[in-house]
C-alpha cells in the first residue's frame, strides 16, 4: 500500500531520482515527500541523523539511507523485475562500477567545475579518462544491464544528468564525438519509459543547475 512506502527526496537530486526510477520499474506505489534542502524537515533529520541527506526511504516506518543501499533493499523486498543480476560475480561487477561512478566519476566532474585555470585541463583529462573507462564497460550492450535497465544504468543516471545539464555549466565534458557509445546509451536511457517519467523537465534542470553553480562560485 502506498502509505507504507515513503520517499524523502528532492526533484533536483539524481540520487533521489535513482530510487524513483527503481520504484517505477517495479511498479511500487509510494508517497513522495519533497524536501527543501536549504531547510531540511525535522523528519528527514530524524530518519537520517548521520548524513542528513536525501534520499531516505521509509518502509513500515523504518528508514534506509544511501541511494544504492535503498535500491538493493527494494530489490530484495520486491523481488519481481530484478534490478541487480542474479549471478554473484555479475552482482559484484555491478556494485564495483556503481561505486566507480560515485567515488571516481562524480568527484572528477566536480573538480573540472571548480578547478582554477591552471588545473582545469588536467582535471578535464582525468574526467575524460574515467568516462572512457566506464564507456568500455558497455561493450556492445544496449544497457549496462543487458537488454533492459539494470543497477548500473540506474547508478549511471548521474552521467545522463551530466549530459543533459552540462550546457548550463558552459561545458562539454561528455562530448558526443569523444564518447559516441556513452552518448547513445544516454539517449536510450532518456528514452526509457520509467526513466522518462521520473526525469525532471530539461529546462527546469538547466535553470536549477545554472543557479546552483553561480551560487556556488559566488559573484564574479
Amino acid at each position: 500500500m502506498a502509505e507504507e512506502v515513503k520517499l524523502f527526496g528532492s526533484w533536483a537530486s539524481p540520487y533521489t531520482s535513482r530510487v524513483k526510477v527503481v520504484l517505477k520499474l517495479k511498479g511500487i506505489e509510494y508517497e513522495n515527500v519533497e524536501e527543501d534542502l536549504s531547510n531540511k524537515s525535522p523528519l528527514l533529520l530524524k530518519y537520517n541523523p548521520i548524513h542528513k541527506k536525501v534520499p531516505v526511504f521509509l518502509h513500515h516506518g523504518k528508514p534506509i539511507a544511501e541511494s544504492l543501499i535503498i535500491i538493493e533493499y527494494i530489490d530484495e523486498t520486491w523481488k519481481h523485475n530484478p534490478i541487480l543480476p542474479i549471478d554473484p560475480y555479475d552482482r559484484a561487477m555491478a556494485r564495483f562500477w556503481a561505486k566507480f561512478i560515485d567515488e571516481k566519476i562524480q568527484p572528477a566532474v566536480w573538480k573540472t567545475l571548480l578547478a582554477g585555470e591552471n588545473e582545469r585541463e588536467a582535471a578535464i583529462e582525468e574526467a575524460h579518462q574515467l568516462l572512457k573507462t566506464l564507456e568500455r564497460e558497455l561493450n556492445g550492450k544496449k544497457f549496462f544491464g543487458g537488454e533492459s535497465l539494470g543497477f548500473l544504468d540506474v547508478a549511471g543516471n548521474v552521467v545522463v544528468w551530466l549530459e543533459v545539464s552540462q550546457e548550463a555549466l558552459g561545458m562539454n565534458l561528455l562530448d558526443k564525438e569523444k564518447f559516441p557509445i556513452l552518448h547513445e546509451w544516454c539517449q536510450r536511457v532518456l528514452d526509457d519509459d520509467a526513466f522518462k517519467q521520473v526525469m525532471p523537465p530539461k529546462e527546469k534542470l538547466l535553470a536549477f543547475t545554472r543557479a546552483r553553480f553561480e551560487a556556488f562560485l559566488g559573484p564574479k
Binding site: I64, I69, Y73, E76, P88, Y89, R91, F96, T133
Partner: protein, 219 residues
C-alpha cells in the same frame, strides 16, 4: 585447489584483512600472494587495471575488487556457512549502511592523525573519536553489530583495531579511554580465530607507520 581462490594483498592493509576474515569464516583454502606496492605485480595490474589496488580476490580466474564488494561476493557464493550479512532485507540494509559509514570515515581520519600535526591533527582526533562513539552507540549492548552473531559490520570495522595503537601513539590519545565498549567489542572479536589469525600485529603496524612517516618526511 578445490576452490581456486587467490588473494592479492599487502599485509598492513585493513582492507585486505577484511577479506582474510571472510575467507576464514567460510573455512576456505586459498593462495595468498603478498604484493609490493612500490612494485606491483603484472597480475595485480591485469586483475585491477582500474584502481591498481589491493585487495583483489581472484576466483576461477575472475577478479573481484574493493574489499566490501569482495566480502559480499564471498558471503553470496559460500552462503551456507557462517553468513556475514543478516537474512532480513532491512537488517541487511542497516549492515550495508554502517559498513559504508566505516568506509567513508575511519581510514581518512586515521590517516590524518599520523600524517598531520597541531590543529589539523587535533581536529582529526576529535572527529575520529566522534565517529567511533557513534559506532559504539550503534553497537549498544549487543555482542556484535548485527546482534548475537559476528557479521558484516564487525568485519568492516575490526580490521582498523590493529591500527589503533599507531593512531594513539602518533596522536597521543587513548581510544579505550573514550570508547571502552568499542575496545571491549574488539577484544570479543579477537577471540574468534578468523579475526585473530587475520589481523596484523599492532606493533608491526606502528613500525610500518614509522617507516611511512620517514618516507613522507613527516616529523
Amino acid at each position: 585447489m578445490a576452490d581456486d581462490i587467490i588473494l592479492l594483498d599487502f599485509w598492513p592493509s585493513m582492507f585486505g584483512m577484511r577479506v582474510k576474515i571472510a575467507l576464514a569464516e567460510k573455512d576456505l583454502k586459498y593462495e595468498y600472494r603478498e604484493e609490493d606496492l612500490r612494485n606491483k605485480s603484472p597480475l595485480l595490474l591485469e586483475m585491477n587495471p582500474v584502481h591498481k589496488k589491493i585487495p583483489v580476490l581472484i576466483h576461477h580466474g575472475k577478479p573481484i575488487c574493493e574489499s566490501q564488494i569482495i566480502v559480499e561476493y564471498i558471503d553470496e557464493v559460500w552462503k551456507d556457512k557462517s553468513p556475514l550479512l543478516p537474512s532480513d532485507p532491512y537488517e541487511r540494509a542497516q549492515a550495508r549502511f554502517w559498513a559504508d559509514y566505516v568506509d567513508k570515515k575511519i581510514f581518512e581520519l586515521g590517516r590524518k592523525i599520523w600524517t598531520t600535526k597541531g590543529e589539523d591533527q587535533e581536529a582529526a582526533k576529535k572527529e575520529l573519536i566522534g565517529c567511533l562513539k557513534i559506532l559504539e552507540g550503534e553497537l549498544g549492548e549487543k555482542p556484535f553489530f548485527s546482534g548475537e552473531n559476528f557479521g558484516f559490520v564487525d568485519v568492516s570495522l575490526v580490521t582498523f583495531s590493529c591500527w589503533f595503537y599507531a593512531y594513539e601513539r602518533f596522536g597521543n590519545f587513548s581510544i579505550e579511554a573514550e570508547c571502552p565498549k568499542l575496545i571491549a567489542w574488539t577484544k570479543r572479536c579477537m577471540q574468534k580465530e578468523s579475526v585473530s589469525s587475520s589481523l596484523a600485529d599492532p606493533f608491526k603496524i606502528c613500525g610500518f607507520v614509522v617507516l611511512l612517516r620517514k618516507k613522507f618526511g613527516i616529523e
